[in-house]
Symmetry: C2
Subunit: 202 residues, 2 copies
């Protein structure tokens, strides 16, 4: 096995874990190196800067996300409405598991990073925005299908998709602040009640 790839992977995995459970600013490169058993020089051989590392971490997590439970949740074989419930459940179990292990709810890595760096780093902000856009697209497809099949009355599916993503992020924000994953379970199902009408009469 290529030891270089292994090293890079180890750095990535460590950084992802630390960034997720703490924050971007709070985690130093030295700490990442120590835990990943890598020297500073090796680190900078693979990542030109901390920002580049963050970009890679976001890509890495977004990939796992897309091919993991998000792929399951938005399974085309599931009825659209059930996909929404699946997403909520997945978010709950993930946060619950993390809290049971580490004692603290880490929240959503993307949401965490977004609020932390958006005003300071336009490159990271753009990347995170793209991740949210992809997530929104999955909701959008789902709602389109729901409307097509009559499972939902007509509505502005694009805007409602964004609303649902926002709601999910907001729930996780509140739950993290309370350090209580159960809040996801309490508030989550109401995601299905969100509606933005076509032509926006509000």
């Amino acid at each position: 096995m290529n030891p270089a790839i292994d090293t890079r992977t180890r750095i990535l995995a460590t950084a992802r874990e630390l960034f997720h459970s703490r924050s971007y600013a709070d985690v130093g490169i030295k700490e990442i190196c120590d835990i990943a058993k890598v020297q500073k020089g090796s680190f900078y051989h693979f990542f030109p800067s901390k920002q580049d590392l963050a970009m890679a971490v976001i890509d890495d997590m977004a990939d796992d996300w897309a091919h993991g439970f998000v792929a399951e949740a938005f399974d085309q074989n599931l009825p659209p409405i059930e996909r929404l419930d699946y997403m909520v459940d997945a978010a709950y179990y993930w946060q619950k598991a993390a809290k049971d292990i580490e004692g603290r709810m880490p929240g959503c890595l993307f949401g965490n990073l977004a609020l932390e760096v958006s005003t300071r780093d336009d490159v990271l902000r753009a990347k995170l925005n793209a991740v949210f856009d992809k997530a929104r697209a999955r909701f959008h497809e789902t709602l389109d299908e729901a409307v097509e099949t009559g499972a939902m009355p007509p509505l502005d599916t694009k805007a409602t998709a964004a609303a649902m993503l926002a709601y999910l992020e907001g729930i996780i924000l509140l739950a993290k602040t309370k350090n209580d994953p159960d809040l996801v379970l309490l508030l989550g199902p109401a995601i299905k009640t969100l509606r933005i009408e076509l032509n926006n009469p509000n």
Copy 2:
């Protein structure tokens, strides 16, 4: 006028602005002192630590918030439903104004801090949680009144209040990531569609 109070106020105002437009970790005490025209010694005369400063900043902002547009939005003379719209509008105009001036949407200070420090500082987390709880209470009152007056059909007002707060925070998170206050205007009004039914035992 007492120059001491003036100094403390200047520190507080500066820290609040910087924490809001950047982040807790990214803003150093030195920078706050420089901008507030205060020496390190004076700073530590008023605030024992950076954490204490953050606590004071949160209190300060929560106070202004409660006596400012939140008080206006939740004006008892307004019909309950209109209060919800008022909150959304206020959030929009605030973010819009900030972006027009500074070029970037700062988002919600409480939400920003909550995601940044929740896993690292239980004292700040508890304080932020209390702020959210107060906000939730305002929504709760409003929904109770809406149900009483028949403006809304019966529902779990407490849970729905939390849902609405989450949604608002989520919208601001997404809008900040997109650096686009208009998203608040697009998604905001749908806050009135959120519903959590009564059967939940709580």
